[in-house]
Amino acid sequence: CSSFGMPDFFGKADTTVPDAPADRLYNEGLYLLQQKKDYKAAAKRFEEVDRQHPYTEYSRKSLLMSAYSYYEGKEYPEAVMASKRYLSLHPSSPDAAYAQFIMSSAYYDQIPDPSRDQKATERAIKELEDVARKYPNTEYAVSAKRKLDIARDTIAAKEMAIGRFYQEKRDFTGAINRFKVVVTQYQTSRHVEEALMRLAESYMALGIVGEAQTAAAVLGHNFPQSRWYRDAYQLVSTGGAEPTENRGSWISRAFRKTGLG
């Protein structure tokens, strides 16, 4: 087998950095990271420190810094892998909390918009909950909790979007059950007010005025100043925007307006 020191003529150019003392490599990494903002090169440089000087305090710190560099460079899979290696090698070190936090932030930054698959969001929530649980009284936990709310808010937004989809199709059973998920499992999200109002709307459309009034009352009790409560109150009290106009469903009426009907 070909020896490794030699540059490899056929394959990719062998980019082994010449051996250098750990601190110089480490500072080169910092320079690349902070001044030149070349995150990938910085990460590679920190990995060199770990490769050439595997026993020193520098190798532990540089493993952490490589995770951070990958994260800053938005190379999320590499950031996660580096943090995981740090946590398995140094689980009880003081920086373990920071490594865990980098991993959870890497997942957090990959959260898509609500109309797409929320697998990445659920993964981020699990990691962020880990940080908050394992390192409760650190500043990472504070930031993790804030990110947790936003992540949960995205899932609540998805439930709301699907609820509105079924509401528009007059499938009120589907709509009500979706809005109920938000009201019961995502009470801390900003969507709970709209969920309660949509419940009032759906029940009114079904003619179950009692339930609509209950939903509006819960909304008014918890969020008296909310615009959603004003809509709900107006809806429930007057029994619908146009009580006189009752010619079939609003779809046929909207239909006549466009003149196609």
């Binding site: 595997p54 398995s88 009880s92 898509p112 499938d171 059950n177």
Partner: protein, 791 residues
């Protein structure tokens, strides 16, 4: 949970501390931290075992032993070496990156024997999936100086084990050639470096067995059994010989058909109309499946979503008939609790959810779910669509999971081509079928060729405002330069929008509005009068009038009714497509005409691998209302709006080579077009017997006939400051016909077609004493080639 190094405990007599031995690189604290012990808890056997498992799981240690000595826990570890570099040698078919992504051993990670063994197996599997079976993988571990090791996988790939030959035994009804068309696996041949379907792949062979079974079941062989699919490895040719053993059984016709219902309110006679099979017709399993689906859908609509339709086939051996029975039973009552859409990393949730006719809270109905799955697959956004259901939170609740796998729907293609009509032509186009995950289609294309130049932008929203109504917008510009086929340059710029409406299962209606500006230019040589050899060869008066008139705006509304039951659009073998179009120009603009065209094609299977094609075309156009006299002169409508027919009507003729012509002496004898045309064609396509089967070549023998006549454009024109030019028109409604042969090649570069056709009857034109030759006759062109590559 506080991570403390040394474990203190209060109550018990002897101190509990953990001693770590044998570790060189990994700190003792790290090892201790895996002993999860809360403050004040004792280290009992379960905790120790958990710690042992955790330590092994990290992969950092080759060996971990925990013992007790004098009340103290002693952990002796043997650290596994750390990998410096992971490298591969000798791999060509599978790239380094592909392998690194699959194996566990990582640079700077621990070296573990078990991981290396599973990596070797993983690499072997990757090669097997690639069709290479005699591969050897040798892991080599090289000790480096600083306690690191390098891991090298030496791979010897060996030759590609392809499928040398495919043969069938017991097939009487269908030739081996025909059956090879049915299955996916192909034989290794000259073109094998292009394709991968000739590589031996066990599960593709299994799929082929199912394809064969379905093929026979579709064509009357109810008892078919594919008893075996044997693949023997032939060391000489280093490939596999695959043999499919088939027991065809008898050909069955349909006997009695009856529908019964065990559900009281369902009236079976009403469902009888949904049975697709015909009494006396050949048994067709697919028709039975379609009937079951249609019946279930109708029952669901009628208020019986839980009804289940079970087909029954009772064979009558001596009469060789199958009596079909459809029994309606009451199925299990369950409702959809939730529909989870998963895997849609690009497509938005509602784009998938709207393909379902049923929603959350509705009754679960298998036929409707299957229809949704079919619709999602037809969107063309997903590599795979799998809809599965799992029990919900209550016995009568079901959760439906829709798992999709996205694929790239963006296309960036550069295609070149040559056709005798347009010459060389190149097209660059960017298209996206699933814009922003909203399911919208957008395309931008630029064309540049010898005789044709232009661009085209189009956008389609399949669900306008939530209605199942496709809405499309197009903008285009096209310039056709003068050539042997037309003596004028024409430039057309325009746009329009259209609505696509599904009327019934196979019928769609398209409503459209389109407006385009057209302008033609003539060279000075042709835009003059009277004739002056060398200086002036006058074009037809209508052309000169159009050139001098300048831009003409056409603004029209139209509709198209399309009925399509082709079995597959690329190369159909069964079914028909009928297309009826009508356009009303005159909604504003300068032009008023009503144009109607019809085009119908029917494919049918003649047997012995022959595919028959019958085609009929017809068209009519007429002006209406008060037309601007200096636009149409003494004609009914503009010449350029008329039909100019050529090989697209009867092969063997030149573009615009058929129909009325200007026979005035010393003129350019331009084709004038006609207001009426008809055309019929009969063609038989058969695979080339001498070329290997999967070469994708087909021969065709055809006969065409048709005619274009009734010129209604202006015949006299007086240009500014010029004499009155009148034209004599040759407008004979003679049947033009031809016979010919064609070669169709579905090549890896793209579809290519060569046609050679000889005109049997044509209009020979009239003797012109001045020019001393026949003029105004149809222009034939025996050879025609069209094709293009798309990469």
């Amino acid at each position: 949970l506080q991570e403390s190094g040394v474990v203190e405990f209060t109550t018990s007599a002897h101190a509990q501390s953990i001693v770590v031995q044998g570790n060189r690189r990994i700190e003792s604290d790290t090892v201790r931290s895996y002993f999860r012990v809360g403050p004040g808890e004792r280290l009992d056997a379960i905790r120790i075992d958990e710690a042992y498992k955790a330590l092994v799981a990290t992969g950092l240690f080759e060996d971990v032993r925990i013992s007790q000595a004098g009340g103290r826990i002693v952990v002796t570890v043997v650290e596994s070496a750390q990998i410096g570099r992971v490298a591969f040698e000798g791999n060509r078919a599978v790239k380094d990156e592909q392998i690194t992504a699959e194996i566990q051993s990582r640079p700077r990670g621990p070296l573990s024997r078990t991981a290396v063994r599973s990596d070797v197996q993983r690499i072997l599997d990757m090669y097997r999936a690639n069709g290479r079976y005699d591969v050897r993988v040798e892991p080599k571990i090289i000790d480096q100086s600083n306690g690191r090791v390098d891991l090298v996988f030496e791979i010897t790939e060996g030759k590609k084990t392809g499928v040398r030959s495919i043969n069938f035994s017991g097939n009487r009804a269908y030739s081996s050639g025909r059956l090879k068309d049915v299955i996916k696996t192909g034989e290794t041949g000259i073109l094998s470096f292009f394709r991968s379907n000739d590589v031996y792949d066990q599960d593709r062979i299994e799929q082929d067995r199912e394809l064969l079974r379905r093929h026979y079941l579709k064509n009357g062989y109810a008892d078919v059994r594919i008893t075996a699919a044997v693949a023997e490895y032939d060391p000489v040719s280093r490939g596999f010989n695959v043999t499919f053993q088939i027991e065809e059984g008898e050909y069955y016709r349909i006997g009695a058909i009856d529908v019964q219902s065990n559900v009281r309110e369902v009236d079976p006679t009403r469902l009888r109309s949904y049975v697709k099979a015909r009494q006396g017709g050949g048994y067709n399993a697919e028709e039975v499946e379609k009937t079951v689906e249609q019946m279930t859908l109708e029952l669901a609509r009628g208020g019986y979503p839980f009804a289940v339709v079970r087909p029954r086939g009772d064979r009558n051996y001596d009469a060789r008939t199958v009596d079909l029975g459809f029994v309606v039973d009451q199925g299990q009552r369950s409702y959809i609790e939730r529909i989870n859409v998963r895997g849609n990393t690009r497509t938005r949730d509602h784009v998938i959810r709207r393909e379902f006719d049923i929603g959350e809270g509705d009754a679960y109905n298998h036929a409707m779910v299957e229809r949704a799955e079919r619709r999602l697959k037809n969107l063309g956004f997903f590599k795979s669509v799998k809809i599965t259901s799992e029990p919900g939170s209550a016995p009568d609740r079901v959760i439906v999971n829709v798992d999709v796998e996205e694929m790239s729907t963006g296309e960036f293609s550069i295609s070149g081509g040559y056709s005798t009509a347009d010459g060389f032509i190149a097209e660059v186009s960017v298209a996206e079928r699933n814009l922003l995950g909203n399911g919208q289609f957008a395309k931008a294309a630029v064309q540049y060729g010898q005789r044709v130049r232009g661009f085209e932008l189009s956008f389609v929203e399949p669900y306008l405002l939530g209605y199942r109504l496709a809405f499309g917008v197009d903008v285009f510009s096209k310039q056709i330069l003068a050539s042997t086929y037309q003596s004028y340059d024409s430039k057309t710029v325009g746009g329009g929008f259209r609505f696509g409406i599904p009327i019934m299962d196979d019928v769609t209606l398209q409503l459209r509005y389109s407006a385009y500006q057209q302008e033609i230019t003539l060279s000075a040589l042709n835009n003059c009068f009277p004739f002056n050899a060398g200086f002036c060869i006058p074009a037809a008066p209508a052309l000169r009038q159009a050139a001098n008139y300048g831009e003409v705006l056409t603004s029209l509304v139209g509709y198209t009714l399309n009925y399509n039951t082709l079995d597959n659009s690329r190369n159909p073998t069964k079914g028909m497509v009928l297309d009826f179009k009508q356009d009303f120009a005159g909604v504003g603009g300068d032009v008023q005409f009503i144009r109607s065209t019809f085009d119908g094609r029917m494919y049918f299977d003649i047997g012995w691998d022959l595919i028959g094609l019958l085609r009929g075309q017809a068209g009519h156009i007429a002006g209406w209302g008060s037309r601007d006299p200096n636009l149409v002169g003494n004609g009914d409508l503009r010449m350029l709006d008329q039909f100019f027919m050529g090989p697209n009507l009867v092969r063997g003729f030149q573009t615009a080579g058929i129909g009325p012509r200007d026979v005035t002496s010393n003129s350019t004898h331009d084709a004038l077009g006609g207001t009426m045309y008809w055309g019929v064609s009969a063609e038989v396509q058969y695979p080339l017997f001498f070329a290997p089967k999967d070469f994708g070549m087909k021969m065709a023998v055809f006969a065409d006939a048709g005619s274009v006549w009734n010129y209604k454009g202006l015949t006299s024109y007086q240009g500014p400051g010029q004499g009155l030019q009148t034209m004599t028109v040759r407008d004979e409604n003679i049947i033009r016909s031809s016979v010919g042969v064609g070669l169709v090649w579905d090549s890896p570069f793209g579809p290519l077609r060569f046609d050679y056709a000889v005109a049997l009857t044509k209009d020979k034109g009239v003797w012109d004493p001045v020019e001393g030759r026949n003029v105004g006759g149809d222009i034939t062109q025996a050879f025609r080639f069209s094709g293009g590559t798309k990469f």
